[in-house]
Subunit: 211 residues, 2 copies
């Protein structure tokens, strides 16, 4: 066995709620507690205070390690990126081309092995329990689509967000899970070309124009 | 306990391959064997002969109970309808409005409790095992989308089929699993109006016309 790395030092010593040995992985404790709290209470119901309590640490320690609830969620579920870090830049140029930019962004995350593994794991969690479905629903709604919809200022924003989510989750299922060809092995640029216009319509186009 | 119903009688007595008590549920045996064969060999690899062998019955008995492999699959997984029975009539009028008619058809099946339960179960199976994913992939490709694509005679038929499947599987995830509002509780007519044009483009429109 190799020697263990030196334990990470917090910048301050929080008041201890329980008896805990010195030098343990408190960040890991917080993440384990966060996974339980998110699964039990959903994304909206979970709080940094509640996560700290479940982890047996001072809330200030949670704030030391993480910038906010979305940051804890991203780390707890090992998402490759924090949504706001990637979604906000994509929104900045405005509605023109938003569909293509979003598809390109998601593919850049999901086409990597860890990204693919994590999005499929989140989707699996939503299919195996009501709590998992609620967690994914609330996370998507608050952290991803609320940002997009607010930036677009279009009519029917919630409907637009849920339609866009349906196409993107369907892309995950078709490309990564069921592996439908040729969509599964299409180059990212080609996926952007065929799916981008759909997202563009859902997010910024005219809805209810059947035929 | 109520008395058991009289056992179903087959029209002919097949040669027995193993020792089996008289009057048992041979149709049930065939379906149990079919579920195993489909999961092990996929939809394409499974054969009626192999299913009969696994069930310990004469192949003629399988042909007596079921019209073909798709019929066995539909019964084995308790799908509410056999794809060809519902897809073919939707294709008959031609490409105009095919997107709307298909969305309306799928919703009429999936919005019922058994339909919803079964499509979510198939999707779950695809997320939990490679065999489940393969089974769903091959079934969708051969029994649903091959029919649609052949009827349309459009360019890039496989790409069109996989794109349409991505949107429809995404609708299942968004509407029935993750329950994203307002899509989850939208009236079927309204879902047809917003998703129908997407399927129309994927199946019969001009692809790769980004922006």
């Amino acid at each position: 066995m190799t020697s263990l790395p030196a334990p990470a030092e917090g910048p301050e010593q929080p008041r201890r709620r329980g008896r805990r040995p010195a030098g343990e992985d408190r960040r890991g404790d917080i993440l384990a507690a966060a996974r339980e709290e998110f699964a039990r209470r959903g994304f909206d119901g979970a709080t940094l205070r509640g996560i700290a309590r479940a982890a047996g640490v001072d809330p200030r320690l949670v704030h030391h390690y993480f910038e906010g609830k979305d940051d804890v969620f991203t780390a707890a579920f090992e998402l490759p990126v924090r949504p706001q870090d990637v979604v906000d830049p994509v929104l900045a140029p405005g509605p023109d081309g938003i569909g293509e930019r979003l598809v390109r962004l998601f593919l850049s995350v999901w086409d990597s092995p860890p990204g693919r593994q994590r999005i499929v794991a989140l989707l699996s969690a939503s299919l195996t329990s009501e709590a998992g479905a609620r967690m994914l629903r609330e996370f998507l709604t608050r952290e991803v689509f609320a940002r997009i919809v607010a930036a677009l200022r279009a009519d029917d924003p919630e409907l637009r967000a849920s339609l866009a989510a349906s196409q993107m989750m369907g892309l995950v299922v078709a490309r990564y899970v069921v592996a439908l060809e040729p969509l599964a092995s299409l180059e990212p640029d080609d996926v952007v070309e065929v799916i981008g216009p759909t997202l563009q319509t859902y997010l910024a186009g005219t809805l209810r124009t059947a035929r």
